[in-house]
Amino acid sequence: MTVDAPASKQTYLRVRPRMHKDCSRQTRLDVLFRAFTATCAGVIALIMAGIFASLLWNSLLSIRTFGISFLWSASWNPVTKEFGALSAIFGTAVSTAIAMLLAVPLGLVIALFLVELAHPWLSRVVGGAIELLAAVPSIIYGMWGLFVFAPFITEHVQPPLQQALGWLPLFRGPPMGIGMLTAGIILALMILPFITAVTRDVLAMVPVLTKESAYGIGATRWEVTSKVSLRYGLRGIIGACFLGLGRAVGETIAVTFVIGNDHSIRSSLYMPGNTIASTLANEFAETFEPVHLSALIHLALVLFMTTTLFQMIAHLWLKRLHKVVEGRT
């Protein structure tokens, strides 16, 4: 100890200034790194604000010409230059509703099967297949929808559906396989992998101990699933649904292929319609009339604001839900 002392003192003296230097350099780097990451994060906010501002700026002409009634006017006439968003909003809402109605229960059931019932080996294979489905580009869904799925719908889905439920105005009209119904089903197929994959992960995170305890007090498999697993994962499942909803609302090219692209509001799901995104995809490139162009950007603004609103509502609602659940436990 005593022998070592001078040496360690020397080392200390020699090391100290370097450590000091290193420290201050580290602090400087920290500050720099912090500033760098903050800038990167700030860019996101800036891009959002920039998109909003440019959409607003470019749709000013349309806003001034049509006012707020743009939102509920159903006319879309490039010849007389009268534009309204109602048919596109209607189409977006209906196609998304069909998609959610089909995809949410189905996704939930598949996820439950994969987590609770299936053999781990089967679960892995099917899970992998679902993740692959999520990676398929939407143009593939569109082309497959038009060339394979639409003829199938025409021959095997629409006629029997019409026979059974033809008294409803929803299923009237010639079965041509192209229209709101097909678009909704294609959308459901597209969002199904997202909903399933996220729900599966959420359900897999339910602690085994909790489940085992439930089984231990004599709960049946159904009771464990519905009262423990589903309730535990509710927040995540709703998050998964909103993820699907966001994709369905904004999906463009696959819908454009099969929806029929008609600016009208019809009661039948067999008839063609349009969505905000499909209208933009169809008309943006070939438009040079200022009012028409501005009306299209106005539509984009509506879509942008709707999705933002959805996100905000989802966020607030989940927060409240969380509080309620926490309060109960």
């Binding site: 006439n77 490039p78 010849v79 060339f147 010639p174 192209i178 692209n261 008309e283 438009t287």
Partner: protein, 360 residues
């Protein structure tokens, strides 16, 4: 490290000075790349022309088929050397933009149908039937009015589905111009334009979208460019023209319509070739136009561009016919070249007269 910089510097200097060992070509003029943008209908032909022309002269054409509307916008913004549009601009619009306009090729729109048992070219339609079908008033193929015009075709009882373009297009512009010309009701109810508010039907994106829908939906009727219908073997219908004669679509029928038009008397050659007189004229014919600025900034560039168009007009006919497009009649070509020499200039000096003498 210093060595590396020195090496880099040594390599950079000759590049910067332009003394890199490039092969010195025996050509007097360096190859020029001309840029254009616009109509998608003539794109296959322009691409083929450009390819053959490049092999001949070394000059390249960079054409982007972004649609007629985009072509007009791009040439107005001067981002390209020329714009291309299927819907001609009016004399007033040309004057406002300082542009001149001339046609380069002619094409036709044909009605295509998907009705069981109806072979290509067997079905005949006239203007009233077309108007009523597209207005949604005739809704079934077994309608007696279709039957009277087609006594030897057996038509099934099948709902008619109208298929039209969902995107703005020159095809729609031609068809709706024709329908507005022959029907006062169409003119007031729907009107003419590159996109209109259709009373009925489904919309497909592009010629291929319309073709796909027509082939998918039993009982469908749509309209596509002739070249597209031929290449995809879609069943087309014949039409009754202004002279009351039934004509089949094809190069002779489009040429007949183009020959009968008053090219010389229409400013900007903005003739609409629909519903032209003449026994052989196809009723829905139209030209595809080129737009260039009157006052050019670079004489060599302008001349290279006009030389390309000159070659297309004079030597590109075979290529055009090969791809089912229609070359312009010779008298129209002469008129166009006259327009170039009188109206196109750099600092007030005509570009084309010089080039023409250079060539000879």
């Amino acid at each position: 490290m210093k060595k590396l910089y020195a090496l880099l510097l040594a390599a950079a200097i000759p590049v910067a000075l332009g003394v890199c060992p490039a092969p010195v070509l025996g050509q007097a003029r360096r190859p020029v790349t001309i840029s254009g943008a616009g109509a998608s209908f003539p794109y296959p032909l322009y691409a083929m022309w450009a390819d053959r022309y490049e092999k001949l002269t070394g000059n390249r054409l960079n054409y982007q088929s972004i649609g007629s509307g985009g072509g007009v916008a791009q040439i107005k913004a001067r981002t390209v050397d020329f714009g291309a549009t299927d819907a001609p601009l009016s004399a007033q619009e040309l004057a406002e933009g300082g542009l001149i306009q001339f046609p380069l090729i002619v094409g036709g729109i044909v009605p295509v149908v998907n009705v069981d048992g109806v072979e290509p070219g067997r079905l005949v339609l006239n203007e009233e039937l077309l108007v009523d079908i597209f207005l949604g008033r005739i809704t079934n193929w077994s309608d007696p009015r279709i039957a009277t015009l087609n006594p030897d075709v057996s038509l099934p009882s099948l709902a008619i589905t109208v298929v039209r373009r969902a995107d703005g297009s020159g095809s729609t512009w031609l068809l709706t111009n024709y329908l507005s010309l022959v029907s006062e009701e169409w003119k007031t109810k729907v009107g003419a334009g590159s996109s209109v508010a259709w009373p009925v039907g489904v919309g497909g994106r592009g010629n291929e979208g319309v073709a796909a829908y027509v082939q998918r939906i039993a009982g469908a009727i749509g309209y596509v460019e002739y070249a597209y219908a031929v290449q995809n073997e879609i069943s087309h219908a014949n039409l009754v023209n202004k002279a009351g004669k039934t004509v089949s679509p094809g190069i002779p029928a489009f040429q007949a319509a183009a020959a009968n038009a008053d090219w010389a008397g229409t400013p900007g050659y903005a003739v609409v070739l629909v519903d032209q007189p003449g026994d052989a004229s196809w009723p829905i014919t139209g030209a595809s136009f080129i737009l260039v600025h009157k006052s050019q900034t670079n004489a060599a560039r302008a001349r290279a561009m006009l030389e390309f168009f000159d070659w297309c007009l004079k030597h590109g006919a075979d290529t055009a016919v090969e791809l089912d497009y229609v070359p312009l009649p010779a008298n129209v070509v002469a008129l166009i070249e006259n327009t170039w020499s009188t109206q196109l200039s750099v600092d007030g000096i005509s570009v084309w007269r010089k080039a023409a003498t250079d060539n000879k």
